[in-house]
Structure formats: C-alpha cells, structure tokens
Symmetry: C2
C-alpha cells in the first residue's frame, strides 16, 4: 500500500486508527495457548475484529524478538495475515551505517514486504537514505517520542531550537510525504501545531494514545493536515482491553470507539 | 563474560581486537554454499581462525534479519558457537519506550544470552534503563559514530556542546563502566582525547577500522585508559580479506596483524 491508497482508506473508513500488534505472550487472554501458535491465533482474531476501523497495523519487533527465531517466524506469518488495504508498519526503530541500513531495509521491505518501517535518526542521512531509496515503501523517522526520556535529548534545554525540531526540519528535506513520515508521541499534542509548521505535508505516526495517556481528539485538532496526515496508534488499549475470551469483541468495540473519536477530523478529505 | 574478565582477556591476548561477524550471504567465499548452512560454516571457520587474537565478537543483526527467521536462527546458532572467553556483542542499535526496551533486553540478554548489546540514545533514559537493569550484562550506547551522517545531528554546528558530547556526558551518569560502554567511530580518532575527558573510565567500542578508513594505532594512542578501555572492531577488513578457499587463513593473518598493531598499547595493563 502507498500513501495515496492510505489516504483513500482513511477517507473511506473515516478513521486514522493504527492498531499496534505488540503481542506479549505473558498477556494473552485466558483460553489462548501461551505459545507461538497462541500469539498467531490472537493476532488473527485481533486483525479480523478491528480491520473495519483500522487503516494501519503496527508490529513492534521487540515483542517477537523476545521469543527468538520462533518469534521472528510469528512476525513473518502475522505480516502475511494483514489485509492488502491497510498500511503494514514494522515498528523496528532501526538505523545503522549505509551498507547495514541497506540490509535492514531489505529485511523489512523485501524479505517481509512491510509497507513501512520506523527508523531512528541519530546516525543521520546515510543511515536513513538506504530506506528512502525504496521509493514504493515508507520510512517513518522518530521525531518527538511519547516517553519521559524524550526530555534527555529531543527537548534538552541546552539546545535551541530543540533537537527534535532540527531532526524534523533536516530529515523532511530528504524526501517527500510520498515515502517519508515522522513519529510524534500523542503525549506531546501541544507541540503538534509547531510541528505542523515544520512538516506541514508529511504524515505523522502518533503512538501514545490510551495506555500512555495521549488524547486522540487533541491529536486530531492540532495535527491533521489537508491529506489527513495522521496515523493514531493504540496497542495495549485495544488488544488487551479484555483479558477474557471476549477479547476480540472488546478489541473491536475499542477500535470502533477510537475510530469514531477521530472521524470528525476526516470530513474535510 | 563481564568487564573484569574482558580486561583479563585483553591483558592475556595483548589485544583490543573485536571481530565483526557481519556475514553477507552474497559475499561468501568461493566454495562456501550461498545459504544459511554456508553462513554458519563460514562463521565457524572465521571464529576458529581468529579466536587467538580477538577478545570480542560483534554480530550485526541486520545481516541476519535480511534472511528472515532463518537468518535469525543463524544468529542464535552463531552466538552459541562463540567461546566463553570472548565478549559476545549483539550490534543491534535498539531502543524504544520502557516496556518495549525491556522486551529487546530480554531478546538479546536472556533468549540469546549475548553479553552486550548496542543501543541508540535518541529516546533517552527510559529507553536505555531497561538494558542497564541487567547488571551482569553490558549496554553499549551510540556516542559518535563513524559515518558521514554523524555530521547531521551528533556534531551539528547549531549545537554547543555538540550533541554527542551531551549524550556521553548524560548517559555516563546512568551507570558505571561495569555495565555501560559507548560506541565511538575510529574515523573520529581526533575526537578521542576530548571524549576521554568526558568518559575517562568507560570502555569504548570502536568500529570503522579497515574498510571505513580508521587507524587502530591512532585510536589506541588517543583512546586507551588505565583498564585498556578499548574494543577495536574490524568486520569486512578481516572476514572478507580473501574471497577464496584460504579465507580463514587470511582472516587469521589479518586478525593477528590488527591485534599486533594494538599490542604496544596493552603493556600498561
């Protein structure tokens, strides 16, 4: 899926929802086997239950790597389960020197055929460029993250403008909104207007709604642009909303609720 | 292996050499099958050929992930092959919000039992801390990297002191040299004296010797400390020194040469 198709999907589903498949084997609901088959079964049910409301799915690689090569197999199989009309995102936060980033890009864009991957900016242009070279794929660079640690460097008071603004400003010159997006935490909704001055056109992937305390409404109010420009992610708030056998049904209800919260901000599309 | 054992090993082998097992299936020597068994065979021969001179081995995860779950299996099996008297490093450059970094720490420190992992600093304390909580393991945070892209943010002229110095200064307060190290590129040997003023005690993992053009002698002159404090990595310069059936023998000779170049700087230990 590319950005134009994503915009159509947002328009048609009237939703900015991205569901995070951060599936933790220790948190599987009662009745789901606590093994890799159980994770696959859980992911399949969550995808089926939420796909009417979600325009994207984000799989955080850490949750799969924790289980070693067997977990990596589950990552591959879950990727294959995703419908073709959603954006598939590997939330991998990779980044390395050029020839190594090329290997990561191949791993996620070719071997697994993800539409998009998250990338860390610390190592600069030649660490990000190998991902951007895949012009039918999308590179999502960390801008301002949702966690407390963003204060250490991203908004360190020593630096004016703050580091995250320099990252957004500089990285946004490396490619267009067709294959570059940014991560901005929902817990930083007050910074979104300023961020939109720096990157008016690029999509923003917004984690941090739900368990981390961000508000989807505030994100939409401050962050939407003429193409929509938002992917609002919820992981724990949807997939673990119930720990019982009704988990899929409850996940669907939570996905619907979040999609409906964002719906008023899709009417201009 | 812990830091005290690493120091003993440096003393005994008179070497700071770390061999990078960045094994690329397309670059396997003639006669080695171009499949995952071939990679394993190659890694085994390289390890056996170089282990008299190397005090550490660094596996870059990108090269294995490129092959999907099968590649991840090779990563696991190669980890198992490493002798117990070398430091095993997963060069993974991970980093995410707290609960996710915990998953990465488990993946590399528990599931695969690596001694050390490289971590990206952009997301700050709560992204690094879950790794540091494993007090018998070593977290190696990116400081000043060897690539051209380090100019974009790490040494961006907007910022005084440069970002990488703020990273070294702040992160070094988060733990001791017993379980925290830093990555500093060998191509930045002139910055090493200044770096030693900021982090006098911590070990530095130094990639960029060989293919990337850094000098091991300059690194030792400017970077060594009272405990040695250095791991000098060469990957391509050793493992692909010959593309023929003599690859292991030539790798051994290259490893010996680099170890001997660093030897004069181990005599104070």
């Amino acid at each position: 899926m590319n950005v134009s198709q994503l915009i159509s999907e947002i328009k048609s589903k009237k939703s900015y929802l991205c569901v995070g498949l951060d599936t933790d084997i220790t948190k599987l609901p009662d009745g789901v086997p606590k093994n890799t088959s159980g994770i696959l079964e859980f992911n399949r049910e969550i995808i089926n239950a939420t796909k009417d409301y979600a325009v994207a799915y984000k799989m955080n690689t850490a949750f799969y790597e924790q289980l070693g090569s067997e977990g990596w197999k589950v990552l591959e199989k879950t990727r294959e389960m995703l419908p073709s009309n959603v954006l598939s995102i590997a939330d991998a936060k990779r980044g390395d020197i050029g020839n190594t980033s090329t290997m990561y890009a191949k791993a996620f864009f070719e071997t697994m055929d993800f539409d998009a991957i998250t990338v860390a900016p610390y190592m600069g242009l030649d660490s990000v460029e190998p991902f951007l070279k895949f012009d039918k794929k999308i590179t999502i660079v960390l801008g301002l993250t949702s966690n407390q640690g963003s204060l250490d460097f991203q908004t360190n008071a020593l630096y004016h403008p703050p580091l995250y603004q320099t990252v957004l400003q500089r990285v946004s010159t490396w490619s267009t909104m067709e294959n570059l997006m940014f991560v901005v935490g929902a817990t930083k909704a007050d910074a979104l207007q300023e961020i939109r001055n720096i990157v008016p056109d690029h999509f923003l992937l917004i984690p941090g709604v739900g368990a981390q305390g961000g508000s989807a409404t505030e994100v939409c109010q401050n962050g939407k642009n003429k193409n929509g420009g938002l992917l609002i992610n919820s992981s724990r708030g949807i997939i673990y909303a119930s720990g019982n056998s009704d988990f899929a049904e409850v996940a669907r209800a939570k996905a619907k609720e979040l999609a409906e919260e964002t719906q008023p901000y899709t009417t201009h599309l």
